[in-house]
Subunit: 256 residues, 2 copies
């Protein structure tokens, strides 16, 4: 069975999509078969890889609703070992639709139980909320990667988010682990970033990942070209940091 990592944080704009796209790409470039799932109605991970669907093409909504099999919603990408299940516009209405259904938090987990065993990693990009889509991801995954900016509001929400994960561990997903806290858009020149980094290191030392993603303009340019950073600018600091992250996550995978 593949290792399923959910990239989540209720705080908005902390680099969830950027991390989901570039971590999955960098792991795939080591030769492992990887599946990226876009579970955000904004469909940023889908367009960030240059995929535009027409109304008749199906995606993650159809899989969760039970209207399609995995093969019908899985699309290839520019990297031959990376595949994506995209988000479509109808995903926006799914949270309200799910509320009154039986086992509403288990829909994704059930759908992924039939996944091809040749996948070694699955990475799920989540919306900035704790609604039923994110709950589905937290129930289906083995671990959760929490990107966070070195800013006050991001730090504030971290403690509460981790509490929520611990609560889910006791109910919906007993094997849920924290893969790690990832510092993103880090700019070491500002005292705020260093203060926040120290605070996170103090309170969440065990969970903090070694890799730190620097603020790097090439990372925010890449999505407008529909490419992960390693295909857009392989020599950038952004590419280096996500290659390092992929190495760290693969090495942890062996231990857990």
């Amino acid at each position: 069975m593949p290792k399923i990592i959910c990239v989540a944080n209720q705080k908005g704009g902390v680099g969830k999509t950027t991390t989901a796209i570039n971590l999955s790409s960098c792991i795939a470039l080591t030769g492992k078969k990887v599946l990226l799932i876009d579970l955000d109605p904004q469909s940023n991970a889908t367009t960030g890889l240059g995929l535009y669907l027409n109304d008749s093409q199906m995606g993650i909504y159809d899989l969760i609703a039970g209207d399609a099999e995995i093969e019908q919603v899985t699309y290839p990408t520019a990297i031959n070992t990376l595949f994506i299940i995209p988000s479509t516009v109808d995903l926006a209405g799914s949270e309200v639709e799910l509320v009154n259904q039986e086992n509403r938090e288990l829909k994704l987990k059930k759908a992924l139980s039939k996944l091809d065993s040749r996948y070694e990693f699955v990475v799920i990009d989540c919306p900035p909320s704790l609604g039923l889509l994110t709950l589905n991801a937290l129930t289906a995954c083995n671990s959760v990667l929490i990107p966070t900016q070195c800013e006050y509001y991001s730090m504030q929400g971290l403690g509460r988010f981790i509490q929520t994960i611990k609560m889910l561990k006791g109910s919906l997903n007993p094997e849920l682990k924290i893969e790690g806290i990832l510092l993103t858009m880090y700019d070491g020149r500002t005292s705020l970033a260093n203060q926040v980094r120290e605070q996170i290191r103090k309170y969440f030392k065990k969970s903090l990942l070694g890799t730190v993603i620097p603020r790097n303009i090439r990372l925010s340019e890449a999505p407008s070209h529909g490419k992960p950073i390693v295909l857009y600018d392989n020599n950038s600091k952004g590419a280096d940091s996500y290659i390092e992250l992929a190495r760290e996550i693969i090495a942890r995978g062996k231990k857990n």
Copy 2:
């Protein structure tokens, strides 16, 4: 009746809370009575103004649920013409609770109908989603202010968000207008920011506000001191830009 402005955008991390806190503060400092409502379960606008509630204190959840009157959930701030209805932890569960209720989108509008007529402006900070909390805000307000970063993912979501506003205008809130699109965290030195700014100017010219908020580290430091920018560092570019925005919004208020 006061002018009710909702600060919303499904995209996360675009500066909704920073705009809600600093716009409401700067309008209040001109002597007008202003109410800030924190409708985000993350409660960033609440802590960004240095307000920490204990479990027995009530907030926006209790107002929407009909368990409290407006006076019981309204708190003073460091600015004597600015008041806040804070968010509390129980707001997180409200979207699921609201789904099966009648007139679920009208709860906030109904609660605000009894508001003290001495308020001249109400500013509502929304979570990064299009769930029932944001829908309540879009139904209760006169206009919506849409902060957006000059980045690819923010630009992508703008068109779809504006479509959603137009749809609501036809159904839940016929008088809903777009107050304007506000460019935030703008860094004119990057070509990406200038390209995106040009695109937004091309497609959304009528809605683009004149004021542009620059990236300014003092804006992200202020919340850790529980102060709006004008009380934390009144000489910063951040303070200047929000004072300018307040002037622009007040001037528009007279016309609409």
